[in-house]
Structure formats: structure tokens, C-alpha cells
């Protein structure tokens, strides 16, 4: 394999991994802190992509469309937490699975009613629509580098917020003992609503920035959801650090699987997961 070709695949794998991390971090955050298995997380990814596509019909700039889509996603996430999920905190995990499964059905149908069953695309914004030449025949698109940069910046930002701010301290405290946090006078309901909305925003943002290099269509949320579950479980449920490493591992495994054994690309991701869990039954960082 040519060294430049190899490098491009590594970059692609890292870019896909960073994007997966952005989606998966919300999933693992919500599970780690609130104990909720949120199957509808992939639906927020879909929501972000479709909202951006829809807003782009009225505004010109991709950036503006994304900025407008995020508060809508946050509101949807907050409302779902406040109206439905909140009832289930003391219930069995399986009740949450069933409720959020119901939400997936509703999201998928709402998507079909509002935007139809066609597959859409979004143009890469002109300012980022060029490539860095590597050799005479190979080059690397700048938009993918931009995605990686945004995801990496958010990963660092998230680390700082969780480790260094008061809000982050509440989140960490809520994860280990929510009753104690409530007893200390912190509004846990509001905190959980905020975390759920934050998760929704992270997923929606990922869907929005990934839209120009992938397609927008029915069922896109389900595919992402399953891959993100794989990431979260490999990393160790509830661990942000684990989600980060798991996402990179899966991003690279998927990319190289597609290059080296195209027939078994989808297989490779699940094989990686099976191997990791057989060696470490509770994930890399449980």
C-alpha cells in the first residue's frame, strides 16, 4: 500500500472516529449520569441533519443553518426529558429501552411526514470546498479536516467543562450519587434536563456537520445508533475517555475494513467489539 494512500485512510479513520465520538459522548454521558439507555439518540443525529437541510432552503450559510438547528434540537431534547424520560428514572432499564424505542418509531415517521422518503444531500460550503494536494494524484479534502478539527475542539472543550467547571462538577457528582447531589441543594431535575438536552445537541451537531460528506435519508439515525452503542460498550459505559478511544478504534477498523476486505467491512466492526469484550467484559475503561 502506498504510504500516502495509507495516510489518507488513517485521516479518514480518525475523522470518522472523531465524529462517532461526538455522537457517542452524548449517549455515554446520558447513561453514565442519568442511568438512561437512550435508543432515540440516533434520532437526534437524524434531526440535526434534516433541520440543517431544511434551514438551508431559507438561509444561505451552512454555519448559520447549523447554529439555528442546535437550539431547536436542544428544545426537543429537553422536552422529551421533561415530559417522558423523567417518569422512568426509578424504573427498570428495559422500560427506558421500550419508551425510547417508541420514540424512534415516532421520530422516523415524523421525518417521513415532514421531509418524505427521498435521500438528500447538502453541498460542502464553498470556503471549505477544496483539497490539499499530497501527490500528483492524491489529495485530501479540507472539509474533512474541518470536521476533525471541530470534533477535536469539542472533545477538549467537553473535557475542560466536565473537569474544571462547577457545572462539570455537578455532572460528575450526579453520576456517582444523585440523591446526595439533590440533598446538597442542586436542582437535579434541571441538571438532568440540561444533560439530556446537551446530549441531543451533540448528536444533532454531528448529524449536521457530517451531512455534506454523507447523505441524508430515512433510517440514518438507526445506523448511527448501533455503531455508537458499539463505541460506548467498547470504551466502557459511562466513560467519556473510553468513548473517545472506542470511537477512534471503530473509526479506523471500519475505514480499513472497507479498504482491505470490502465484503466484510460491516463484519469487521462487530468482530472488533466481540474481541474487546471477550478480553475485557466491561469495556476498556469501565
Amino acid at each position: 500500500m502506498d504510504i500516502w494512500f495509507f495516510l489518507i485512510q488513517v485521516l479518514n479513520g480518525i475523522q470518522y472516529g472523531l465524529l462517532l465520538f461526538l455522537v457517542a459522548s452524548g449517549l455515554t454521558l446520558i447513561f453514565g449520569i442519568m442511568g438512561i439507555i437512550n435508543l432515540a439518540h440516533g434520532s437526534f443525529y437524524m434531526l440535526g441533519a434534516y433541520l440543517t437541510f431544511w434551514l438551508l432552503q431559507s438561509v444561505d450559510s451552512l454555519l448559520l443553518a447549523i447554529v439555528l438547528a442546535l437550539p431547536i434540537s436542544a428544545a426537543v431534547g429537553y422536552l422529551i426529558e421533561a415530559l417522558l424520560v423523567r417518569v422512568l428514572y426509578r424504573r427498570d432499564h428495559l422500560d427506558q429501552v421500550l419508551l425510547t424505542y417508541g420514540l424512534i418509531l415516532i421520530f422516523n415517521e415524523a421525518q417521513r411526514m415532514l421531509w418524505g422518503g427521498d435521500v438528500h444531500g447538502i453541498k460542502v460550503p464553498a470556503a471549505l470546498n477544496w483539497s490539499i494536494p499530497l501527490t500528483e494524484s492524491l489529495s485530501y479534502p479540507v472539509y474533512r479536516i474541518a470536521i476533525s478539527a471541530v470534533c477535536a475542539a469539542l472533545a477538549v472543550g467537553m473535557y475542560l467543562v466536565i473537569q474544571r467547571t462547577r457545572f462539570g462538577m455537578w455532572i460528575r457528582a450526579g453520576a456517582s450519587n444523585r440523591d446526595m447531589v439533590a440533598a446538597l441543594g442542586i436542582n437535579v431535575k434541571l441538571l438532568f434536563g440540561a444533560v439530556f438536552a446537551l446530549g441531543a445537541v451533540l448528536a444533532a451537531l454531528s448529524g449536521a456537520i457530517a451531512a455534506p460528506i454523507s447523505s441524508i435519508g430515512p433510517g440514518m439515525g438507526d445506523t448511527v445508533l448501533i455503531i455508537c452503542f458499539v463505541v460506548v460498550v467498547i470504551g466502557g459505559v459511562g466513560s467519556i475517555k473510553g468513548a473517545f478511544l472506542g470511537a477512534l478504534l471503530i473509526g479506523l477498523a471500519d475505514t480499513f475494513g472497507k479498504v482491505l476486505a470490502p465484503d466484510f467491512a460491516s463484519f469487521s466492526v462487530y468482530a472488533v467489539m466481540a474481541v474487546v469484550l471477550l478480553l475485557k467484559p466491561r469495556g476498556l475503561f469501565a
Binding site: 422500560d95 421500550l98 462487530y270
Partner: protein
């Protein structure tokens, strides 16, 4: 698992009798849709078998599997692979062969999965299920993603005389009903046995079971294998009915639907998940006939049931009927 309240047993038996006599009156009740309904009901009874087999894992042993459809699909694929292209397979050969393969596959998957627990178990079984899906989807073994047809239904002969014509829709209906009742009785007997009691105890508190000197791993593995094999039987019957198998039968969507039937019907009650299968499929049919956007009311129904009935439909029935029988006993 304790015995059902008598009034509830009577109600369930009445429902089975109703299903048994339905083909006799179906024509008069629904003149235009009878054949369609009978086919639908056959499919639902087969799904009820699948849901009960999953309940053995989820509701009884506490093993929440998201890859159960893999065994369902494998059962169907075994029929497709073992059937000659243009002549009938012998049921007495293909059924045991298919179930043996499914049992072996579930034993291997079970052996590797039950080392994990909780959400990890959910995900490992999901991973194995998806591996099964991609195995049939990407390989050329049985038509790849297009699936494979079973042109001729298997022959059921005793001493060279055909005893059941599986091509006949009504016969197939009664085969489905027989499977539903037979598997229910079988699982009930199993759960009442010492083995079943240990498995139920593992579902409640695995550490105590270990403390009592049992090896939970062996019991869980056997329960997983039995559950998988019964799901394989359901898949085998479904493949006979539709004459077609495709990778979607193994996918996580299908596993998820079965899990929804179990939770909706009430975990661990065995009859509940069977009812869950009927409610789920009939609701889907009803909503589909009213609106093309049937997923919307379906999702709302599921959410409504979670919020209002924490123990599912089976739990509600048990509560209703045990309450009444206590009152009767008191008087």
C-alpha cells in the same frame, strides 16, 4: 414460577379455543379477508413462540438478548439450505438437523456472551446477531441480501403416507397453533422443574444462587441454548409459511421487535409475551389499514403502555385476576 390464578387460566384457554375454532367461522365473519387473516394469525402465532423463547432469557433468567432474531433467522436459513431445489425435503430429517445446528450456534454464542452481564450482555448479543446478519447478507451462501426461496414445502410422511400437507393454509394455521400451545406447555413444565427454578432464581439474584452452591454459568448457558433453539423452531416454521428467507429475519430490528413484544406483554410471565406478540402485530395491522403513517400511533401506543403499565399487559392481567381470586377465597 407460581401457578396462574384459575380464572386467568380459564381466560387464556378460552382464547386458545377461540383461535382453534376461528378457521371454521372465519369465512362467515370476514368473507373477503378470511384467507389473509388466517395467514396473518399463523405468522403471529409463530412470532408468539419466538417471544416466549425470548422471555425465557429476558424475563426468567435475566439475560436481555438483542440478538435473538439471529437464531430465528438461522432456523429459517437451515430449511432453505437443506431443501432440495425442486422437490420436497423430508421434515423428519430437516427439522432435527436445523434445530441441531441452531442449538450448536446458540450454545457457542451463549458460551461467549454470558461472561458479560447487564448492558454489556445486550451489546454482545447485538454484535453476534449483527455478525449473523452480515454473514448471510454478504456471503453468496443463500442468495446474499436477496434471500432465498423454498420452492417446495417439506413433506410430512409416516411410513410413506403423507400425514400433513404443509402447503395447505389451514393445516399450517393449526401447526402454528400447535407450536404456540406446545411450546407454552413445554416451557411451563421446564420452569416448574428444578432446573427452571434455579434459572428463575438466577434472574432474581445470581449471587445468592452461587452462594447456594449452584454454578449459574451452566444454568444460564443451558437456558440460552434452549431459548435459541425454540427461536430457531419459530424461524423454521416462518420459513415454511412464507417459502422465503432473507437476512432481515436476523437483523437487530427483528430482535428489537421481539424484545418489545416481551416487555409489552410482561416479562417473566410467559403468557404475557405471547399476548404481546398478538397486541403488537394486530396493532400494526390495524394502524396500517387506517394510515400509511402507522409508525406514529404505534410509537405512541408503546410509550403509553410503558408509562401506564409498568409490568406490561401480563402483569396487569395477573394483578386483576389474582386480586379477584383472593376475594373469592376470602368469601
Amino acid at each position: 414460577m407460581s401457578r396462574l390464578p384459575r380464572s386467568l387460566s380459564i381466560l387464556l384457554s378460552a382464547a386458545i379455543i377461540l383461535l382453534a375454532v376461528y378457521p371454521l367461522f372465519g369465512d362467515a365473519l370476514f368473507p373477503n379477508k378470511h384467507a389473509f387473516l388466517m395467514q396473518k394469525l399463523t405468522g403471529i402465532m409463530v412470532m408468539a413462540v419466538m417471544a416466549m423463547s425470548l422471555d425465557l432469557l429476558v424475563g426468567v433468567a435475566g439475560l436481555v438478548s438483542m440478538g435473538h432474531a439471529a437464531f430465528f433467522g438461522l432456523g429459517g436459513y437451515m430449511l432453505a439450505l437443506l431443501s432440495p431445489e425442486y422437490s420436497a425435503a423430508n421434515l423428519w430429517v430437516v427439522l432435527p438437523a436445523a434445530l441441531t445446528v441452531v442449538a450448536l450456534a446458540s450454545a457457542v454464542v451463549g458460551y461467549l456472551s454470558i461472561r458479560t452481564s447487564g448492558i454489556y450482555f445486550i451489546m454482545v448479543t447485538l454484535a453476534f446477531g449483527q455478525m449473523g446478519f452480515y454473514f448471510f447478507n454478504d456471503s453468496k451462501l443463500a442468495g446474499g441480501s436477496d434471500g432465498a426461496y423454498i420452492m417446495v414445502k417439506p413433506a410430512v410422511e409416516i411410513l410413506g403416507v403423507s400425514v400433513l400437507n404443509l402447503g395447505d393454509k389451514r393445516t399450517l394455521y393449526y401447526v402454528g397453533l400447535g407450536a404456540l400451545v406446545g411450546v407454552y406447555r413445554l416451557l411451563r413444565v421446564l420452569l416448574a422443574s428444578p432446573f427452571g427454578r434455579v434459572v428463575s432464581a438466577i434472574g432474581v439474584n445470581e449471587n445468592r444462587v452461587r452462594g447456594l452452591g449452584f454454578d449459574p454459568v451452566a444454568y444460564k448457558l443451558l437456558a440460552f441454548t434452549i431459548g435459541g433453539t425454540v427461536a430457531g423452531l419459530a424461524g423454521f416454521l416462518a420459513a415454511i409459511q412464507y417459502g422465503f428467507v432473507n437476512p432481515a429475519t436476523l437483523s437487530w430490528h427483528h430482535s428489537g421487535e421481539a424484545l418489545v413484544m416481551v416487555i409489552l406483554g410482561g416479562m417473566g410471565t410467559l403468557f404475557g409475551p405471547a399476548i404481546g406478540a398478538f397486541v403488537f402485530e394486530l396493532a400494526r395491522m390495524g394502524f396500517e389499514s387506517v394510515t400509511e403513517h402507522w409508525l406514529l400511533p404505534m410509537g405512541m401506543m408503546i410509550i403509553g403502555i410503558v408509562l401506564l403499565l409498568p409490568k406490561g399487559i401480563g402483569g396487569l392481567l395477573l394483578q386483576l385476576f389474582s386480586g379477584r381470586s383472593k376475594m373469592e377465597g376470602g368469601q
